[in-house]
Amino acid sequence: MNPTNKNAAPSYTLNCRMAQEAAAIERLCQVVRIRGFRIASMAVETAGDYFDINLTLEGSRPVAMLQNQLEKLHTVAEVVVKQPAAKLARHSA
């Protein structure tokens, strides 16, 4: 990990609602990683049959690209990007 790059990368908060199934969280994290983003913080709550996942992400690629890829996951119901993340969220990582 290169700390200089890490600091330079823009930060986003992203909310994802996805069905609870085996490996749901791993699937989400795998896509985030392979598409070039780093998870700075993550909070998961269950809501009925769904996970409600709040992520703070850092990455220099367009976040819309990540959103598209996450939306393709069969069990993802919704992805909302709030960008850029509040400074607070970034520092809480």
């Binding site: 598209n68 939306e71 393709k72 069969h74």
Partner: protein
């Protein structure tokens, strides 16, 4: 019915008649159910990787779902390359593996591997079944998912005890995939009419969407010059005068030139892969883009597009065809220019007329293209021979060209050809392979023999890993490293050991007879073709360079095959 029988029931309801698999401990309940089943033909390959690649070849050749089955642990891990191959090329595939019994998961039980975790990055979706009652619904969903939108492999991992449990839940209704609507074309149409130098750029998405006919109708009605990606070869048919062939790293000079000069790229079912575009900065520098694709995530992924049309390719292309028929494009000058480039910058290495001359890859493939019937299916491996097929074989349909595009899997060709032959027993199916690739799944000669498949195998044997040798020669100061295969086995004798007759040729005047002999033979036959070690694939773009920096074949100074590379 137990869980295993429900899997077979789902196959019946979806008219899946052929599956490729290999048995073992945790999947035994399914193999037990197969004993009493008459509706599903199970093809026993000799390695699970070959099962997955055969299912891939079956799916590509037929347009149907490919199915492969394996046991837990090593069975599942052996499938991985084949499933990754299908994932990278968006091939509809259903993968079923047995898993250790539910209570044993996480105990490091015999033949336990975390299949779900290991395969997350190579599937469209996956399931670990935790109740037999879910099997009918999961089967329905998985089969629909694998074939809808942008297709891909869906993997179902099922613990052994669940396969054996009786299921009481009634079978669900078949999932109907909602048909995609046709988006508004007006902006794209205006842009197309404005363009002076529009270029059609098509990829594997055309046949994945079963849009071959509507694509061809559009290509003809618009008479737009066109280029194809490796997987788009054949989209335009072999008689379209505006088709400039493959673009990219080993594309034709004509195709790459047209991309450089065009002012509009009309992209259909292609994802702007780096082997096609070269360095992105230098790709189609003067062009606006219209991008038609089934997958929203491909649009704007690597290059911002001006107009995106997402939806059913057939519907969109048919709507454009009507517009073109009503008012043709006024691009005569550009069309003529591209046809000139096609004549001067197409793939046309001169055939060596000298009968005793050694055989070159391109000359062999051109003869093969002339002699084989129009509906022949060619399954390639990976390397120089794969590029020679892409360059010099004239395909009339994209489903006739089976090639591992995204993953570039050596060992793909032989099992893929087996799958294709099961998809169409009447077609001529030919595996064109290299001496390196052939050895990666050579055990499948036994599968050919077992099912008496009339496959034709052609090994272009240059006694080395030719594509790697070429790049070492051109880009690593000719420092050869680990590419020599001059201790290859005697391939003719090897085929004979599997009771497959074979023939060896090495001179130009033997090409025609060699090809005619294997085609005429009523059964599987292997043609071993000795070719020069030093032959290269031309032109070539250095990996990471712009397509503009294409390197042509240096002038031959003698008739000898050994080249001096400038």
């Amino acid at each position: 019915m137990n869980g295993a029988q429900h899997i077979l029931d789902a196959f019946h309801r979806h008219h899946i008649g052929t599956v490729f698999g290999y048995p073992g401990g945790c999947i035994m309940p399914l193999y037990d159910a197969l004993v009493d089943d008459v509706g599903v033909e199970h093809v026993l390959c000799r390695h699970e990787q070959a099962c997955a690649l055969a299912a891939d070849g079956y799916a590509r050749a037929s347009g149907k779902l490919g199915v492969c089955i394996a046991t837990s642990g090593p069975g599942a891990t052996n499938l991985i390359t084949g499933v990754a191959n299908a994932h990278r090329d968006s091939i509809p595939m259903l993968v079923i593996t047995g898993q250790v019994a539910s209570g044993m998961i996480g105990t490091d039980a015999f033949q336990e591997t975390d299949v779900l975790g290991m395969t997350l990055g190579i599937v469209k979706h996956s399931y670990l079944v935790d109740s037999a009652e879910d099997i009918p619904a999961i089967m329905e969903e998985a089969m629909a998912l694998a074939q809808s939108g942008r297709p891909g492999p869906v993997w179902i991992d099922i613990p052994k005890d669940i396969l054996l449990t009786d299921v009481k839940t009634p079978t669900p209704e078949q999932t109907q995939t909602p048909s995609a609507s046709t988006p508004d074309l007006s902006e794209a149409l205006a842009m197309l009419r404005e363009a002076k130098r529009p270029l059609l750029y098509s990829g594997g998405g055309v046949s994945l969407a079963n849009a071959e006919d509507s694509f061809r109708a559009f290509a003809e009605a618009s008479a737009m010059p066109g280029v194809a990606t490796l997987k788009g070869i054949g989209n335009a048919g072999k008689h379209n005068p505006n088709d400039l062939g493959m673009l990219g790293m080993h594309g034709s000079r004509a195709a790459n030139r047209a991309v450089e000069e065009c002012d509009l790229l009309f992209i259909v079912g292609a994802r702007l892969d780096d082997r096609a575009t070269g360095k992105l900065d230098g790709f189609a520098p003067n062009a606006r883009t219209i991008h038609i694709d089934a997958d929203a995530a491909e649009i704007n992924k690597l290059r911002a597009t001006d107009v995106a049309l997402r939806g059913d390719l057939s519907g969109i292309l048919t709507a454009f065809t009507h517009e073109m028929e009503a008012q043709p494009l006024a691009i005569d000058d550009w069309r003529t220019q591209c046809q000139t480039w096609r004549t001067t910058g197409g793939f046309q290495a001169a055939d060596n007329e000298e009968p005793l001359a050694p055989i070159t890859g391109p000359a062999f493939i051109r003869q093969l293209s002339r002699i084989t019937p129009d509906n022949a299916i060619i399954a390639c491996d990976v390397g120089q021979h794969q590029m020679w097929v892409a360059q010099h074989y004239h395909f009339n349909h994209p489903r006739h060209h089976l090639t591992s595009g995204g993953l570039g899997t050596m060992g793909y060709g032989l099992p893929a050809a087996i799958g294709a032959q099961f998809a169409d027993r009447q077609s001529t199916v030919i595996n064109v392979t290299g001496d390196g690739s052939f050895m990666m799944n050579a055990q499948e000669l036994a599968t050919i023999r077992r099912y008496n498949l009339p496959l034709k195998l052609i090994i272009l044997d240059n006694q080395c890993l030719g594509m790697v040798r070429q790049q070492q020669e051109l880009f690593y100061n000719n420092r050869e490293s680990q590419i020599d295969l001059d201790d290859n086995p005697d391939f003719v004798a090897m085929a004979r050991a599997f009771d497959i007759p074979s023939l060896h040729i090495e001179r130009t005047d033997q090409i025609r007879r060699g090809i005619e002999t294997i085609l005429a033979y009523d059964g599987p036959m292997l043609l071993h073709v000795a070719i020069s070690r030093e032959e290269n694939v031309w032109p070539i773009v250095k990996p990471g360079a712009s397509n503009k920096e294409m390197i042509d074949e240096p002038k031959r100074t003698t008739t000898a095959k050994k080249e001096q590379v400038a």
